[in-house]
C-alpha cells in the first residue's frame, strides 16, 4: 500500500490548486476614534471552523447560518483584534447578511470598534482559520479620509500596523512610474514610432528647405504633445474600462503605425502630417499602454494612482528618449549628405521591423 501511495503521489506532485481558496475579506474605515467595516468569511470556512450544516445534508441554508449567528460572532471576536497605539479598541461584530465572491457565499459581519482616542497607528491582528488551514489568507483594506491601503494577512504575517495619517492613495505611485518608464524603453514599437516622428522634422524632407533649429524644436514640441495627449486619453479610457479593443488588434495596428510612419518619411511629395499623424496613432499607442498597465494589476494601489503613475512614467521615459535623440539628430544634420542617409536607413530599418511585427501579430 505504501508503495502504491508513493507511486500515486508522483502524479500529484504538481497539481496544487487554487480551487475555492480559503480566504476572507476585511475592510476597515477609520474615523476619529471609531473604526467600522466588514468582514466577509466564506461559509465553507465557517463550516470547517465551527460547523454550520446542522442537519448534515451538505447544504448550508440561511436558517442554519442564523441559528449559529452568535457562535460565528464569538468565533470572529475571539480571533480578531483592532487597536490603537497603546490600547485595543472595543470591537463588536454582527452577522446580518451574506455576499457572493467568486462563486462562493460569504457571511458578512458588520464590524464596529470604539477606541479610547483617535488612533495614530491602527493595528489589526487576525487569527481566523489559521489553525485549520495554514493556507488561509485575509485580504485587508484599511482606509481613512478617502485613501486606503491593502495587505494580505497569512499565518506567517497575521497582523498589520498602519499609520493612519500616512494612509495615502499615492503610496504606490513610485512603482507605476518605474513601470511606465520601463514599458516605453522596452516597447521597441513605441520607440520606433517616436523616432520616426522626430527624424523628418530635424533632417527635413528631401529637396525642401530644412526647418531652422528653432522651428524644428517647436515642431517637435507640437508633435510630442499631440502624441502624449492622444495616448493619455486612450490610456485613461481603456484603463477605466470605457473602451475595450482586443490586444491583438491593438498590437497589430501599433506595428502598422510604425510602417506607415516609416513609409511617409521617405515617400516623395507627401506633405508632412506631423502632429495630426502623431495624434491619430497616439490614440492607438495609448490602448497598447493600457493593456500593459492592465497586465500589471493595480497591486493594491488605487486605479487612479496606477494610471497617473504609469502615465507619468511613460511621459518621462519618452522625454528621456526625445532628449537623447534630438541632439544626435541636430549634430548629424550639420554634416553634409548624412541627413538623407540617416533618414533613409532609419526609416527602412524601422519599416522592416514593423513588417516583421505585423507578420507576428496578425491574428492567426
Amino acid at each position: 500500500m505504501k508503495l502504491i501511495l508513493g507511486v500515486l503521489l508522483l502524479l500529484a506532485t504538481s497539481t496544487a490548486l487554487a480551487h475555492d481558496p480559503s480566504r476572507s475579506l476585511l475592510t476597515l474605515q477609520v474615523e476619529r476614534n471609531e473604526v467600522h467595516g466588514r468582514l466577509d468569511v466564506s461559509l465553507r470556512d465557517l463550516e470547517d471552523a465551527i460547523g454550520l450544516d446542522a442537519d448534515g445534508d451538505y447544504a448550508i441554508t440561511w436558517g442554519e447560518v442564523q441559528r449559529r449567528r452568535a457562535d460565528v460572532e464569538r468565533y470572529v471576536l475571539q480571533r480578531l483584534a483592532v487597536g490603537g497605539e497603546d490600547a485595543p479598541c472595543a470591537l463588536g461584530a454582527s452577522l446580518g447578511s451574506v455576499d457572493a465572491h467568486g462563486g462562493a457565499t460569504y457571511a458578512v459581519l458588520d464590524l464596529r470598534a470604539t477606541c479610547v482616542a483617535p488612533p495614530r497607528h491602527l493595528r489589526v491582528e487576525y487569527g481566523l482559520l489559521f489553525d485549520i488551514d495554514g493556507a488561509h489568507r485575509s485580504l485587508v483594506q484599511i482606509g481613512s479620509g478617502g485613501a486606503a491601503t491593502t495587505a494580505v494577512l497569512s499565518a506567517e504575517h497575521p497582523s498589520i500596523e498602519v499609520e493612519v495619517a500616512k494612509l495615502s492613495a499615492w503610496s504606490g505611485l513610485g512603482r507605476f512610474v518605474t513601470e511606465g518608464v520601463w514599458h516605453i524603453w522596452h516597447g521597441y514599437d513605441h520607440l520606433a514610432f517616436v523616432l520616426l516622428l522626430l527624424v523628418p522634422i530635424v533632417l527635413g524632407p528631401r529637396g525642401a528647405k530644412q526647418l531652422g533649429a528653432r522651428a524644428a524644436v517647436g515642431e517637435i514640441l507640437r508633435v510630442v504633445t499631440a502624441f502624449t495627449l492622444a495616448h493619455s486619453i486612450t490610456l485613461a479610457l481603456a484603463t477605466l474600462g470605457l473602451v475595450s479593443v482586443p490586444s491583438r488588434v491593438i498590437e497589430s495596428v501599433i506595428a502598422l503605425s510604425v510602417l506607415i510612419a516609416a513609409v511617409l518619411n521617405v515617400a516623395p511629395s507627401v506633405p508632412r502630417l506631423g502632429a495630426r499623424l502623431a495624434f491619430c496613432f497616439g490614440l492607438v499607442h495609448g490602448l497598447g499602454f493600457a493593456s500593459a498597465l492592465r497586465d500589471l494589476g493595480t497591486g493594491g494601489a488605487g486605479m487612479l494612482v496606477s494610471l497617473a503613475g504609469f502615465n507619468l512614467g511613460v511621459e518621462a521615459g519618452q522625454l528621456a528618449v526625445v532628449g537623447t535623440v534630438m541632439p544626435v539628430l541636430f549634430a548629424v544634420r550639420q554634416v553634409r549628405g548624412w541627413p538623407q542617409v540617416l533618414k533613409w536607413s532609419c526609416s527602412t530599418a524601422c519599416g522592416a521591423l514593423a513588417v516583421v511585427w505585423i507578420a507576428q501579430r496578425l491574428p492567426r
Binding site: L3, I4, V7, L8, L9, L10, L11, A12, T13, S14, T15, A16, L17, A18, H19, D20, R23, T27, R38, L43, R44, E47, D48, Y58, A59, I60, T61, W62, S97, V98, D99, G102, A104, T105, D131, I132, D133, H136, R137, V152, T225, A226, L229, A230, S232, I233, A236, L240, L242, S247, R248, R276, F279, C280, L283, D295, G297, G302, L304, Q360
Partner: protein, 411 residues
C-alpha cells in the same frame, strides 16, 4: 480619427486634460462601488446558500472513524499518518486544497517536531510537496531515508521532486536505488520518467510500452501511472495517435482500480491539454463533463469554451477571484495556474510571462516550459525566455512542441 484631433486641439489642451481627469474620477467612483458587491439578506430561511461536497462513501466513512480515533488520542502517530494519507489521496482526485489543510491539521502535534516518527515525516513531506515547499519536503524525506534506507515511498517521492525541479542526476540516482527495493516496473518507470526528459525519450517510450503491453500484469494504480507517463512521452515524441491511446488506457485503468477510484486531476488536465492543443475543444469538454470543480480543470474548460467562441463570463470572473493572489504574485504555489489563465484565457501575455517565469523557478516540467515559451512569443519577448531555452539545450530534452516553439522564438 483625425477630425477628432482638430476638435481636441480647438478645445484647448487644458480643458481637454481637465475633461479627461473628470471622466477618470467619475469612472473611478463607479468602479470602486462595483468592486465591492452588495451584501444581501436572504428572504427565506430555507434558501440554500452553499452546497458542500457530499462526504459520503467508503473513503469518508474511514476518515470519520479515523478522526474519532484521533480525537481520543491526538498523538497516535499511525492513526494520524493514515488519516493524512486518506486526505491526500482524496486531494489527488478532487484537487480541493482544503483537503491538504485537513491532512496538515491531522499532523498538527508534530508541526515543529524536528524528528517525528517516520510515517509522520513521510506525510509531512508529501504535504510540503503538494504545496510546492520542495525544500521542506526534501529535508523530511532525507530524514526518512537516513533512518529507513529501504523506504520505497520516500525514495519515489524524492525522485519525483528532483524530476520536477529538473535535478535529473539526483532523480536518476534515487530511481536506481529502487531497483533492489521495489518491483522492477516501479523502478523502471521511475528511470524512464527521467530518461524521457534527458534526451532518451525514444528508449523510455519503448520501455514503458513494453511494461504496459502485458494485460493484467500490473496493479491498476501502477498501470495508471505508467500509461500516463507513456502518453506524455509519446506526446513529447510527436506520436499523437499513440499518446491519445495511452491517455485513454490510463483513464480506463483508473476506473478499473475500484468503484471509488477516479482519475487524478493531473491525468485529466494533461489529457485535456493534449486535446486543446489539437484544437478539439468539444472532446475536451466531454472529458471534463463530470470532473471535480478543481481550478486546474475549470481552466481547461474555459480554454475549450474559448476555442468554441462561447467563453462563459461568469467562469472567467470566478477564476479571476480565485486566482487573484496568484495573478498578483502573492501566492507562488499557483503560479502555474495563474500563468495558464493569463495566457490562454485572459490574453495577457506580459502578465503570463511574469507568472510563468516565477513558476519556472519552482517547477520545470514540460507544461511549465511551454508556458514560458508561449508567453514569450505572444508578448514579443524572446529574450525573457532564455532560462527555458538554456534548459532545453542543457537537459537535451526532446519535445517536438517545445522545440517548435524554440524555433519560432529564434526566428
Amino acid at each position: 480619427m483625425c477630425s477628432e484631433s482638430l476638435r481636441v486641439r480647438r478645445l484647448g489642451r487644458r480643458r481637454a486634460s481637465a475633461a479627461v481627469l473628470c471622466s477618470a474620477l467619475f469612472a473611478l467612483c463607479a468602479i470602486e462601488l462595483a468592486a465591492f458587491g452588495a451584501p444581501f439578506v436572504p428572504s427565506d430561511d430555507s434558501q440554500v446558500l452553499e452546497r458542500l461536497p457530499a462526504r459520503t462513501g467508503r473513503e469518508w466513512q474511514a476518515i470519520a472513524s479515523l478522526r474519532a480515533e484521533l480525537a481520543r488520542e491526538p498523538r497516535a502517530a499511525s492513526v494520524a499518518a493514515e488519516l493524512a494519507r486518506r486526505y491526500l489521496e482524496l486531494f489527488r482526485a478532487e484537487g480541493e486544497p482544503r483537503l491538504v489543510a485537513y491532512a496538515q491539521s491531522a499532523l498538527a502535534p508534530w508541526r515543529d517536531d524536528r524528528d517525528p516518527p517516520l510515517e509522520i515525516a513521510q506525510r509531512r513531506a508529501e504535504i510540503a510537496q503538494s504545496e510546492h515547499r520542495f525544500d521542506d519536503a526534501v529535508a523530511d524525506l532525507k530524514k526518512v531515508i537516513e533512518r529507513d534506507p529501504r523506504s520505497v515511498a520516500a525514495r519515489l517521492t524524492l525522485a519525483s521532486i528532483d524530476l520536477v525541479r529538473a535535478d535529473y542526476d539526483a532523480s536518476r540516482r534515487e530511481c536506481s536505488r529502487l531497483v533492489l527495493l521495489a518491483d522492477a516496473a516501479v523502478a523502471g518507470a521511475c528511470s524512464s520518467a527521467v530518461r524521457a526528459m534527458t534526451g532518451e525519450a525514444g528508449g523510455a517510450y519503448q520501455y514503458l510500452t513494453h511494461l504496459v503491453a502485458e494485460p493484467g500484469a500490473l496493479p491498476p494504480e501502477l498501470r495508471v501511472w505508467i500509461e500516463t507517463l507513456a502518453a506524455e512521452t509519446a506526446e513529447a515524441l510527436g506520436a499523437w495517435h499513440n499518446a491519445e491511446a495511452h491517455y485513454r488506457a490510463a483513464l480506463a485503468a483508473a476506473s478499473a482500480a475500484g468503484a471509488d477510484e477516479r482519475p487524478s486531476v493531473y491525468l485529466l488536465a494533461a489529457y485535456a491539454d493534449f486535446l486543446l492543443r489539437a484544437h478539439r475543444p468539444a472532446d475536451a469538454l466531454a472529458l471534463l463533463k463530470d470532473a471535480p470543480p478543481a481550478d486546474a480543470l475549470t481552466l481547461r474548460i474555459a480554454v475549450a469554451e474559448k476555442q468554441l467562441g462561447r467563453l462563459d463570463a461568469a467562469r472567467v470572473e470566478s477564476l479571476s477571484y480565485r486566482l487573484q493572489l496568484a495573478l498578483d504574485g502573492l501566492d507562488t504555489t499557483h503560479a502555474r495556474e495563474a500563468a495558464y489563465f493569463a495566457l490562454y484565457v485572459l490574453d495577457k501575455p506580459e502578465l503570463a510571462m511574469k507568472r510563468a517565469l516565477a513558476n519556472w523557478n519552482v517547477q520545470r516540467e514540460p507544461i511549465d516550459a511551454r508556458l514560458v515559451l508561449e508567453s514569450a512569443l505572444a508578448a514579443h519577448r524572446a529574450a525573457d525566455a532564455r532560462p527555458v531555452l538554456e534548459w532545453l539545450a542543457t537537459s537535451g530534452c526532446e519535445h517536438v512542441d517545445l522545440q517548435q516553439l524554440e524555433r519560432r522564438l529564434g526566428s
